[in-house]
């Protein structure tokens, strides 16, 4: 069952920050000595492992998270620089090496947090039994919208404040003044009494000999100089010139290029290969068979891809060769029915007596929803460059989990992990996909096979067909209403529970709730997809609450609001969204407006979507988005992530479907796996509430609410309730009669 353990690891990877505390014994000691050679250059002094101060007074934030466009590296540097009182112009980012000292668990229990309580947000949310302890120790994941709210809050801020404190202490000793008389400003130590000031760099070496406090005094929000300001992102200038280095841009002397084709049916293996025609082609070095894949290694990528097309491969037969998505949904239906009939479904949430309350309800509303498999479709297809030589492996790639890749590649090559080095570049999109090391392992094995450095690039077709998909899910609901239209009971049954644990739960005050699920495993590999389980459950729960509101004869915004007396933060977000969207203002026939509320990854988001439905087609005109992340470290960065999450979610809701046909993925490229384009992009208005709640995430919370807000808007416009995604499946015709606008 090793394979399934790995799958489970992959599936839970994006919330791995929550999995870091399970019985791990942390290696004691100061990490400076070990890490200094990895991150400090000549003439540079490592203040401690998260900050580097150079002789030119530049401050480098050593960030244990990778950059996929979410802006985390800049936001983390911003948090550190603010506590350090550095000048933003002097701040640089260095991505931390793939070393155990930078694993997520090290943050949770490492010396920076050594004297602090374990942050509640890090309490495990994954099924510990499914995850090997060794996996936990080697995670260096960027996902779960965790960077700012864990590494930033518990790492970078503490690191910046601690660094400032040792610099001031070193200055106090040299100037022979009390430390309390010194302060930091714009990268300088200042002594107001004497008017003296000097750059931090002058004290770096002395400060490096001091032990920083694990519990330095942090700033209060009124003291922030950089946090809360939209400072320009550090990675953007190089991304407008073509200079930014992505995984696919790796250049290694003597490198060959490889194209690969993996078994289209998941689980099939190579049976027979005829490589004659391929080997006869110009530039081709080798045809390599890797258990479940065939690759061509050639001088150039195009030669490799052309030759691969000429390789004749037959694959082994499997038990799933005849499976299609319709059959999988039929399986879900059966397994859900069986679980209920046998009374062996898993209870996820039980409040009051939902079934009893349903039995005495005046009216029961029932609906069943489904969502398809989805691919990530990162703009940069999966790729990795490996050089395996002399019992060591060097890897150039882009990954959300560099340390995990290092260990996975080491395991595949049967090397010790210290023989594997990972160079991580910018990711051309991640969205959860780049937490799975399959492509890196392939590149390493190919390099070992041909005894040369190899750059492996997946074709777009391979990228779409060999993903770890957002799972297809079926979800059924019952709601009980009394004679006055009050919501008495909520029952929800779905297939397969992953992460985060709270994704199926609604914020509404309902006395009787039963949420339960049945297991219904399939052969289709799954993994975290932007917002993970929230992406499907957000659609299910916020569509159904809308149906219940309409069944109760209530306005869907007011119905939600009235169930949020005990959740003032949610209520404030919802109310502001309705206000900013002019909720209640009449729309022309053929237009509609829908609302949804979602809480995920520590942030609360409400969205109002306006659509026009004409000629059976849905056009999204406008999205009003209100986000409460507790505190927005970079308001513009948060806004960008809301825009991004909305368009990612709209693409999926309007067009996204991976269909399993004869055991394999039917789609292949952007012509049959459609993306939202410029001419379809709505106007998006984002409003931020800094409520002061515990700081939440940004990269994912914009996604889960957009599909239900869209579906609810389509209902408002047409009277057609969208219970299956994508919306493109429906033949929509707008109502000719007056729309019954909410007023």
């Amino acid at each position: 069952m090793g394979k399934w353990t790995r799958r489970a690891f992959i599936a839970t990877g994006s919330v791995a920050g929550g999995a870091l505390l399970v019985g791990i014994v942390i290696r004691p000691g100061d990490r400076r000595g070990e890490l200094a050679p990895l991150v400090a250059g000549d003439g540079e002094h490592l203040v401690h492992a998260w900050v580097k101060l150079a002789a030119d007074n530049s401050v480098t934030a050593i960030v244990p998270h990778s950059e996929m466009g979410q802006g985390a590296q800049s936001a983390l540097a911003q948090m550190l620089a603010d506590e350090l009182d550095a000048r933003w112009e002097d701040v640089r980012v260095l991505e931390a090496p793939a070393a155990d000292g930078y694993a997520n668990y090290a943050l949770a229990k490492g010396f920076l947090a050594g004297g602090l309580d374990i942050p509640r947000v890090l309490v495990p949310t994954v099924d510990g039994a499914m995850m090997k302890i060794s996996d936990l120790m080697h995670l260096q994941i960027t996902g779960g919208s965790l960077s700012v709210r864990t590494t930033g809050v518990y790492g970078m801020r503490v690191a910046g404040a601690a660094a400032r404190q040792v610099l001031l202490a070193a200055a106090a000793a040299r100037w022979e003044v009390p430390e309390s008389e010194l302060s930091g400003k714009d990268g300088q130590v200042i002594h107001p009494g004497s008017g003296r000031s000097a750059p931090y760099a002058e004290f770096a070496e002395a400060a490096g000999r001091l032990q920083p406090s694990a519990t330095p005094t942090l700033k209060t929000p009124d003291q922030f100089t950089l946090m809360g300001r939209s400072v320009p992102r550090l990675d953007i200038p190089q991304k407008v010139t073509g200079a930014a280095n992505f995984g696919i841009d790796a250049q290694v002397p003597g490198m060959l290029h490889a194209a690969i084709r993996r078994a289209p049916v998941f689980g099939a293996r190579v049976q027979r290969v005829d490589e004659t025609a391929a080997l006869a082609m110009s530039g081709v070095h080798r045809v390599v068979t890797l258990d479940d894949a065939v690759a061509v290694v050639a001088d150039g990528y195009w030669q490799a891809q052309q030759a691969l097309d000429k390789v004749q491969v037959s694959w082994t037969a499997t038990e799933v060769d005849g499976i299609d998505s319709d059959g999988l949904f039929a399986q879900f239906e059966r397994d859900m029915d069986t679980a209920v009939a046998n009374g062996d479904e898993h209870t996820d949430l039980a409040v009051g007596d939902a079934r009893g309350a349903l039995a005495r309800s005046d009216r029961v509303v029932e609906a069943s929803y489904r969502v398809p498999y989805l691919a990530h479709a990162c703009m940069e297809p999966m790729n990795a460059t490996a050089r395996v030589a002399d019992g060591a492996c060097e890897l150039w790639t882009s990954t959300q989990n560099p340390l995990g890749f290092r260990y996975a590649v080491a395991e595949a090559l049967e090397f010790d992990a210290d023989r594997v080095t990972v160079h991580n570049a910018y990711m051309g999109g991640g969205f959860g996909r780049r937490s799975d090391p399959d492509y890196a392992i392939q590149a390493a094995r190919l390099s070992a096979a041909v005894n040369a450095p190899v750059k492996l690039i997946w074709s777009r077709e391979e990228d779409i067909r060999q993903d770890h998909y957002r799972p297809a899910v079926l979800s059924r609901f019952k709601a009980g209403l009394d004679a006055e239209g009050r919501l008495l009971a909520w029952e929800n049954q779905f297939v397969d529970k992953h992460e985060p644990a709270e994704a199926p739960h609604v914020p509404y005050d309902i006395d009787n709730q039963l949420v339960h699920y049945a297991d219904s495993p399939t052969h289709v590999p799954f993994g975290p997809w932007r917002s993970v389980d929230h992406s499907q459950h957000g659609f299910f729960t916020e569509s159904f609450i809308d149906e219940v509101a309409h069944a109760a004869g209530r306005d869907p915004f007011e119905f939600r609001r009235d169930l949020l007396d005990a959740a003032p933060r949610h209520r404030a977000v919802l109310e502001l969204a309705a206000e900013k969207a002019d909720w209640g203002r009449a729309l022309a026939p053929g237009r509609g407006r829908g609302i949804a509320l979602q809480s995920s990854f520590g942030s609360v988001v409400a969205q109002v979507v306006e659509v026009t439905v004409a000629g059976g087609k849905v056009r999204v005109d406008r999205v009003v988005c209100v986000a409460d992340p507790g505190f927005a470290v970079s308001p513009d960065g948060l806004t960008a992530q809301m825009e991004s999450g909305i368009i990612y979610g709209l693409t999926a809701a309007l067009y996204g479907e991976i269909y399993i046909d004869n055991g394999a993925v039917a789609q292949s490229n952007f012509h049959d796996y459609r993306m939202l384009r410029m001419d379809e992009a709505p106007v998006i208005e984002t409003h931020i509430i800094n409520s002061g709640a515990a700081w939440g995430g940004a990269g994912e919370p914009g996604t889960p609410g957009i599909a239900p807000a869209l579906a609810n808007a389509v209902f408002d416009a047409t009277g057609t309730r969208i219970r299956e995604l994508p919306v493109g499946r429906y033949d929509l015709d707008f109502r000719i009669e007056e729309t019954d606008e909410v007023g």
Partner: protein, 168 residues
């Protein structure tokens, strides 16, 4: 041997003339700012200019570019000075992952050359061939409008971003 004129410089490449221009640009010329996204002219990540016109390098045989003026993202600035479109991209903080942005910028530069003051419909038409999975479309649109309003010709310094432009 095929002679290409890339960003004003003549370069000889010894490749099969049917090789897509994209791979010649990336592998033979080592200009990696031009990206591979789909291989079938669906995403626009490989957009370059041939005689000033935007083309998809992934489906253009290198032979078709022989003797023509080829411009990549590395060649649109004036020395170290950024093109006004690139400056507008920084000002509007457009890129997220950044992978598609070379193609977006190349399409925008071509649009503005033809139409110095495009309306939203013109932007839609010129940019709808460039997919962005990070959803930067609203910012791409704003940046094109900003560049259209800017004085033409590259300026000597990179603008720093004004955080007061939008959100508070």
């Amino acid at each position: 041997m095929i002679t290409l004129n890339v960003n004003g410089t003549s370069r000889d490449v010894d490749v099969d003339p049917t090789t897509p221009l994209l791979w010649v640009i990336r592998e033979n010329l080592a200009l990696t700012g031009t990206k591979f996204g789909c291989g079938i002219a669906q995403c626009g990540a490989c957009t370059v200019h041939l005689n000033g016109r935007p083309i998809r390098a992934c489906v253009t045989p290198v032979a078709a570019a022989a003797g023509q003026q080829l411009t990549t993202i590395e060649g649109i600035g004036d020395g170290d000075a950024l093109h006004p479109v690139q400056q507008a991209w920084i000002a509007e903080q457009v890129p997220q992952c950044g992978y598609c942005q070379s193609g977006q910028i190349m399409s925008a530069v071509a649009l503005l050359r033809d139409n110095p003051a495009p309306d939203d419909a013109a932007i839609d038409s010129a940019l709808k061939g460039n997919i962005c999975r990070c959803g930067t479309y609203p910012r791409v649109r704003r940046a094109i409008h900003r560049a259209a309003d800017a004085p033409t010709g590259a300026t000597a310094t990179v603008q720093t971003w004004d955080p007061e432009v939008r959100h508070g």
